[in-house]
């Protein structure tokens, strides 16, 4: 049981996507113009990730190694279609706002990355814990980034204006440049925080995990990443 809790909590801080392990950048940048969008995207990813992890780990003994990537993609794609239909049915306006990025969840490397690195090697329960943790971490990060950009760019959080009269929002922050710059600053901030913490613990500051290839979309296909795992 403690191991399940560990699998769950690692996604919340130690391997928090996309800040600690730089995965799934496209939606992170694209949909975080508001906190609400970020939350919605995060929830969709959480749903797909947890279920795909569960299904893949359940089927991991049946899926032949040679075509496993194709199988993972089909499973993820089916789940994404389900999410699309659900969102169309219940939160159509959000579906409209997220636009093309909902179908693109299928190529989000968090899904394939976790499938390859974790679900295909572990049992159903730990895989669900892993998916939930990672998904929840992703949701939190996206909501945080969305809230930050919305505040700076629009002067609101979840559509509610911030109670500060003198604040003049910079519209730039909700546009593409703001997304890149915000994420860059947050990553730098995380690095600074980690260095501070490890220095306090008296350890040698380490570079963020996979700093060199973390952002590459193809970790599941890449020889280097496979070696590290």
């Amino acid at each position: 049981m403690p191991s399940v809790i560990k699998e769950f909590t690692k996604g919340l801080w130690d391997e928090l996507p996309p800040f600690r392990v730089v995965l799934g950048l496209c939606p992170t940048l694209a949909v975080t113009s508001t906190a609400e969008n970020g939350l919605g995207m995060g929830a969709a990813v959480l749903f797909v990730l947890t279920l795909s992890n569960a299904i893949i780990s359940a089927l991991r003994k049946i899926i032949p190694g040679k075509v496993r990537i194709a199988c993972f993609i089909v499973i993820a794609a089916s789940l994404v279609v389900a999410v699309e239909l659900l969102m169309q049915a219940y939160t159509y306006s959000l579906y409209q706002r997220l636009g093309i990025f909902v179908p693109l969840i299928v190529v989000n490397c968090i899904i394939l990355g976790r499938a390859e690195a974790f679900a295909s090697r572990n049992g159903v329960i730990p895989s669900i814990a892993d998916g939930l943790g990672m998904g929840l971490g992703f949701t939190m990060s996206l909501t945080f980034l969305g809230a930050l950009r919305e505040t700076l760019g629009n002067g609101t959080v979840f559509g509610i204006p911030v109670p500060w009269e003198a604040f003049r929002p910079a519209h730039l922050m909700v546009m593409a440049p703001g997304a890149f710059i915000c994420l860059g600053l947050i990553l730098a901030g995380m690095n600074a925080f980690n260095r501070h913490m490890s220095r306090r613990k008296g350890e040698i500051p380490t570079e963020p995990k996979n700093a060199a290839c973390a952002s590459c979309a193809a970790c599941n296909l890449c020889a280097t990443a496979r070696k590290e795992n």
Partner: protein, 704 residues
């Protein structure tokens, strides 16, 4: 709709799968499965050091047969063995290589401007070659550290890169990135066979020394009490430090920068100290040798050139055999140079060190008489080094020079070395001003002969070592400077005396050129024995083919066998020549240097079939390294080597005249070294000895 969805997806999946299945069958490229297996052996760093675009390309080349099993330069011998196992091939020996920094200057160098730009050596080098005045030194912004894929480099406090040789995989990235060439990839072979280049960091001593010994490094190692390291440093260039430390006239000390402020560092005394340390410990420091390469080389002559060449060839992996005419290896060093200068046991120890590496010897075999070039070729020797020396003493060329009682210096010294006869009361006249002449004079004098030397020069223009002339005078030899014999007098068939005349230079102040006889001067001296020691020349009669035609051209200037000066290759491509047989009468360290140079040429000849000329070879002393002004803080007196007292020298023949020094003395002498670079130097060398009474700050004019 449900049915159509299922159907469409099913059909689509089926089609895609079918197409891919068919395609993979039809478009199958017959890929050698060994490629993947070879690639799995490779480190996967994709560094490109092997010359292929990546590990997979290298693997493909190996399977293709275009690359050998030892293609990967960052992998170790195990990598090669595993690949060879897959390929069913044999592993050839792969010489380990590492990156090495040649710059010792660091922050000592003068700045020509203050650089404040991109922190990258390559960027800084674009501006006048960097802020440091030295064009070849390390710029110190650590580009090499950044490009190293294996984290094997760091910058030292002085701002020069330090290589972690355990981590370095010799991929060459650092050397490629370095704009000044201060960091290079080196191997045992490249270090042992490297010839000075004008873009090396060369202190004046290292340029002047014919053997190009890394003086700066071994003196620093002595200072750090790393005597083993110092010995290995010397042996990168000179396999005979015991001998060179005793009889080398040390041209390096004359050009030493410390001479500008006080006296040159006693470099050869320190070399002897290191070598004596090894011999007195009784245990030979192991020398790394590459495993045998299968290339056999014949070396004619077991003197310093032959020994040096055999030593270097053996260390880089070849299999030399020395052919020696006499019964002992060692040439003139053993038996001709007298005991009190160079004891036999010292020579034997040094020779044994070299032979222990795996050098074969055949004694009592004379070239031309017992063995010819044809025989050697037939026996499988791929190259031949002729190093027979210059043993012929030309006759005096005056009246009665073939009378009884007239001997040449070499036979005299050889006989003396064997027998050491009592010569009380014998009147000996020696003709010549070389070390040989002085050796004859000293030997005869020590056995109580009455010795007169007719020296055709003034004292400071003699070719003999200055110290040795002093020793001869101390012991009571009568040196008559600026004289030459005119005729020998004969009584009852034996020599009885010499008439000689005075000589004079055209310009006595400068004493330049050859002195000429002064007409009208004539003197007579009685003699029982006349020793001709004016010169030693090459005996060309050895080098003739079956029809009696000469094998080689004769060099007009030196009188030796002519050859390419860099590669020492003669007109016969697989025959090389070195030492006195090429240069004419010369000093020992030149012979050692020739042996090394010949080893380099032979190495390239047997491995590549051609001998490349080195780039930017340093031939003359680089002018910018000769400084006019020095700002040195402390003056420290040069070490005085203790000598055996005169009385003892008269009674004993075996005792060495010059004695050893202790470590503390050696260390203080080593601290006099300014650790010179091409232009930089340590201004406050010796600061740790300021407590001593004899170490004083130098008063600089205008400083107070």
């Amino acid at each position: 709709m449900v049915a159509s969805s299922i159907l469409v997806l099913f059909l689509l999946g089926l089609t895609a799968a079918a197409i891919l299945a068919v395609a993979s069958r039809l478009l199958h490229v017959a890929e050698d499965p060994r490629v993947a297996r070879v690639e799995a052996c490779l480190p996967g760093a994709n560094c490109g050091g092997c010359g292929y675009p990546g590990c997979s390309a290298a693997a493909a080349a190996v399977v293709d047969g275009t690359a050998p099993a030892e293609v990967c330069i960052v992998g170790n011998i195990e990598t090669s063995q595993r690949i060879a196992a897959i390929m069913g091939a044999e592993v050839h020996f792969k010489e380990p290589r590492v990156a090495t920094n040649i710059c010792s200057g660091g922050d000592r160098a003068n700045l020509i401007f203050d650089y404040k730009g991109v922190e990258d050596c390559r960027a800084e080098a674009l501006l006048y070659g960097g802020e440091k005045s030295c064009g070849i030194g390390c710029i110190g912004l650590g580009t090499c550290v950044k490009v190293c894929p294996f984290n094997a480099l760091r910058l030292s406090e002085a701002g020069v890169p330090v290589v972690d040789w355990n981590a370095c995989r010799s991929c060459g990235k650092c050397a490629e990135a370095c704009p000044t060439g201060a960091i290079r990839i080196s191997s045992v072979t490249s270090v042992l066979l490297h010839l000075n280049q004008t873009d090396d960091c060369l202190a004046p001593c290292m340029q002047k020394c014919p053997a190009q010994i890394n003086v700066r490094r071994y003196i620093q190692q002595i200072k750090q009490k790393d005597l083993r390291g110092a010995l290995l440093t010397i042996k990168e260039h000179n396999p005979l430090p015991l001998i060179a430390g005793r009889i080398c006239p040390a041209p390096c000390e004359n050009i030493c920068r410390r001479k500008i402020v006080d006296e040159g560092v006693a470099i050869h005394t320190l070399q002897r100290f290191v070598a004596d340390w090894e011999m007195q410990s009784g245990i030979r420091v192991p020398l790394y040798c590459n495993p045998p390469s299968g290339h056999k080389v014949a070396i004619i002559g077991g003197g310093p050139t032959g020994l040096s060449c055999a030593y270097f060839l053996r260390r880089v992996g070849h299999e030399p055999t020395i052919f020696e005419r006499r019964e002992h290896i060692g040439g003139m060093m053993r038996g001709v140079i007298p005991e009190y200068r160079l004891p036999k046991k010292v020579v034997d120890w040094e020779v044994q060190t070299i032979l222990n590496l795996g050098v074969e010897t055949r004694t009592g075999v004379a070239f031309g008489r017992d063995v010819t070039l044809k025989d050697l070729e037939r026996e499988g020797f791929e190259a031949v080094l002729i190093a027979t020396g210059a043993w012929k003493v030309p006759p005096l060329g005056i009246e009665n020079d073939d009378a009884e009682g007239v001997v040449d210096a070499i036979s005299f010294l050889e006989r003396f070395g064997r027998e050491g006869p009592d010569m009380s009361g014998v009147r000996v006249v020696v003709v010549g001003g070389s070390n040989t002449a002085i050796d004859v004079a000293r030997s005869a004098r020590r056995q109580n002969a009455l010795v007169t030397v007719l020296v055709p020069a003034i004292q400071r223009k003699m070719t003999a070592n200055k110290d040795e002339v002093e020793r001869a005078l101390e012991i009571g030899a009568d040196l008559r400077f600026l004289t030459a014999p005119l005729a020998l007098h004969v009584e009852n068939g034996a020599v009885s005396g010499v008439t000689y005349c005075d000589l004079a230079y055209d310009d006595p102040g400068k004493a330049a050129g050859e002195p000429k006889p002064v007409s009208g001067t004539k003197a007579f001296i009685e003699a029982d024995l006349v020793v001709a020691a004016s010169d030693r020349v090459v005996d060309h009669s050895l080098f003739t083919d079956a029809d009696g035609n000469p094998l080689f051209k004769r060099d007009k200037k030196t009188g030796g066998v002519s050859a390419n000066p860099t590669t020492l290759q003669t007109d016969i491509p697989n025959v090389f020549v070195g030492g006195e047989v090429h240069t004419g009468r010369n000093i020992l360290i030149q012979a050692v240097a020739d042996g090394r140079r010949a080893a380099r040429a032979i190495h390239f000849h047997v491995t590549r079939g051609a001998v490349p000329e080195p780039d930017n070879q340093q031939v003359q002393v680089i002018p910018e390294t000769i400084l006019k002004n020095m700002h040195v803080t402390y003056t420290i007196p040069r070490v005085q080597v203790p000598l055996t007292p005169l009385e003892e020298r008269r009674i004993s023949f075996k005792e060495e005249v010059a004695c050893s020094i202790s470590y503390d003395v050696a260390r203080k002498e080593a601290s006099r070294c300014l650790r010179c670079g091409l232009t930089c130097y340590d201004a406050d060398a010796g600061a740790e000895y300021t407590q001593d009474d004899d170490v004083r700050p130098i008063d600089r004019p205008g400083s107070e």
